[in-house]
Assembly symmetry: C2
Homo-oligomer: 427 residues x 2
């Protein structure tokens, strides 16, 4: 039987945050930012727990810091120690229950903040299904480039514009391709605003510059995961991206879900990496480890929902756009870490390595509108009778994820949501 | 007559650091990092000056911080106030000369450190001469892409691996293109290690997310500049960069010179932006300001030198590889700032916006070996009889820059140097 909490709501089979999950977040308390963990429909304030002397003394400074970075710096033993302590405090037979209850707040009434300082943000392109379907739109003769099956493709994103779920996204303005080569480009609000369904991997341990991380050790460098929406302006992207890659088409906003699920909580939900078809090129040795191939992949049920203003006005639920799963990615989290550092690049605590859009093999499992609407040529009809090619002002995108496996309580990653606000014309 | 300092060396016409310069750096003092300014062949310790009560009281915390970020956060008035105070302390008729002297150290014996925390690093591609010559190598039919003259091309670089001058660069290992499509790529130390001569612009003021910076205001957002070497592994780059741009080919190391020259010191050395030929497309309005076109360009004499192990063994001076000048860039610093924020992207204090390789119109003024040796096909012969296509282990690259203009003391940016160490084979 699954471990029980004294909070009955945490033991419900539908709970996102059972006792075996305990994801980290940050909450505003009297104008201050406090770290917390989620349990049932509540959050447990770590700052308050330290004040009440319920946490190991050597972890007080890290638990009373506004962001997770200090805890991560203390290393695996500290992470494990804190997780065990919190589990004990919330378990059915817990000591100090009254004191612990005093540090509980309802999530519904809380303002959740960005729980981590993110020094660097890298975005990969790990879904072969995404790469293939996007490639088909722009290069029908050669949808997948020759490097794809050899090397995890990635690029550096913008760390400064990452915001937590709930922060609205202002429609960006930018240059779009002129209709003929002799015309001037337009400088207009994007007409092709898209989301990208991704997972963020949070780096919990740094490597010195010049020292790659071998693939066997790579999983230890990841602290946890959250959902991530890599907002993209497709018309800006297609004009600017040659020859150096995406820039203003993506750096105006990136949204992360408020809860960081420790890798420890995901152990029961790992999958074997997608088997490489026999005619695929062999993995280069630095990217291969047997353990990684047999249980290196993440296995989560991902969902994307759209809520339009009309749906909200009519009290209709959000509409499900697609479902997918990171077990279908071509590259595992460990491969992303090892490849990123294979040239000696130094990762820092709090860095995000994002997977890139997570699309599945079927057209319906695509993780962005670019794929779902074939670059705007096949509109989606919504239950309200509305249709969409790309996102309109007032649209809200909601990403959700949960894991289940026989014999283990289901866990949910919480929501990553943001609403599109109209462009501001200040230039 | 130019303002004189009581340090005679600072008044020599060959000095890099006269009284009118006062660039900021950081120095190790008894295991601590102190901010300082350069004057003549000395540095003046700001921490010690604050201790001695020679600086405005409200600037003490910023001047006793290990990095410049706190000073920048205090804004233009604080920058100006500190610069005036330091100028007064070092001028010929200065008060408190004995106390000031106690805070002076020789630069020759000092360990200079990275003087600023760099939250984000963006690299542009502002030299049309560089873009054209590189384009010619890979796309002879269309050297310059259709977007180049409309939009400042840029991408996000890696902030974590930026190190100060003097830090060695370890040759990176990575994947290179297989000789035939059915072969595996090699995973080997790069055979095409290159430098790129660039300038770093340091952001001194942030803009809120969603709020672009109009071009008229853009110069106020730049605090100062330094030299920057964007090390590049060309063989890794050519294999990995499609479709998302450079990644591991560039993120293993970036070197900055130790001194940040305030924009205030560069005022006498501004130039008009390169006039756009009449058949070039008109600037989009958001990138145009008359003031920017008439004095928005930087005007510095840039030089690149190579010192090989053989040169050093034979006590030969470094060999000059090329000279160029940022006044030949197609885009001005203000245009880079405005374009970067035109979609609402938020800049943060300490961010670097780098120009990209600064090449001039002549082949000899190219800012990297990729251009100078035409991707390795035309070796350079050195005075020692050695030759180079790309860099070998033991090679040191030295970037230098200075400005001169009639009636103004010459200023020099100091050196940006690093030596290549052999690859480490740990994967």
């Amino acid at each position: 039987m699954a471990p029980q909490s004294w909070l009955p709501e945490a033991n419900l089979p539908t709970a996102d945050f059972p006792l075996t999950h305990l994801p980290y977040g940050a909450v505003e308390v009297h104008g201050q930012q406090h770290l917390c963990v989620a349990i049932g429909t509540h959050l447990l304030d770590l700052y308050a727990l330290a004040e009440a002397n319920l946490l190991p003394t050597h972890l007080h400074p890290a638990c009373q810091s506004p962001t997770l970075n200090a805890l991560l710096t203390q290393g695996h033993q500290a992470w494990t120690h804190l997780r065990q302590t919190l589990t004990t405090l919330l378990a059915a037979d817990a000591p100090h229950r009254t004191l612990t209850e005093a540090a509980l707040h309802s999530i519904a009434g809380a303002t959740l903040l960005k729980p981590i300082d993110i020094p660097n943000y890298t975005d990969f392109y790990a879904s072969i299904h995404h790469a293939t379907r996007v490639g088909l739109l722009f290069r029908p003769d050669q949808p997948l480039l020759p490097n794809y099956k050899h090397i995890p493709i990635g690029y550096h994103g913008r760390a400064s514009s990452i915001a937590v779920s709930g922060t609205p996204v202002i429609r960006p303005t930018g240059q779009t391709r002129p209709s003929t080569p002799s015309d001037q480009p337009s400088f207009i609000p994007t007409n092709a605003l898209d989301y990208e369904l991704e997972l963020a991997l949070y780096i919990g341990q740094s490597n010195p510059q010049g020292t790659p991380i071998p693939i066997e050790q790579a999983p230890h460098y990841i602290f946890g995961i959250s959902l991530l929406n890599d907002w993209s302006a497709r018309d800006l992207q297609s004009w600017e991206y040659q020859p150096l890659g995406p820039f203003l088409a993506k750096n105006f906003a990136t949204t992360i879900s408020p809860w960081i699920t420790p890798l420890a909580a995901l152990e029961p939900f790992r999958a074997s990496a997608t088997p490489r078809p026999s005619d695929d090129p062999k993995l280069l040795p630095y990217l291969h480890s047997k353990a990684d191939q047999t249980h290196g992949a993440l296995n989560l049920k991902l969902e994307v929902f759209l809520s339009t203003q009309t749906m909200r006005d009519n009290k209709l639920p959000p509409f499900q756009l697609s479902q997918s799963n990171p077990k279908d990615l071509y590259w595992t989290p460990a491969q992303l870490v090892t490849h990123h550092t294979s040239n000696g690049c130094n990762l820092q605590i709090g860095d995000i390595l994002a997977t890139g859009t997570i699309s599945g093999p079927s057209d319906a499992s695509a993780g962005c509108l670019l794929e779902l609407t074939r670059n705007g040529s096949v509109p989606i009809t919504l239950p309200t009778g509305e249709s969409r090619t790309f996102l309109l002002d007032g649209d809200e995108i909601i990403l959700r994820a949960h894991c289940d496996a026989p014999g283990h309580p289901r866990i949910g990653l919480g929501e990553c949501r943001a609403t599109i606000l109209p462009a501001r014309s200040s230039l």
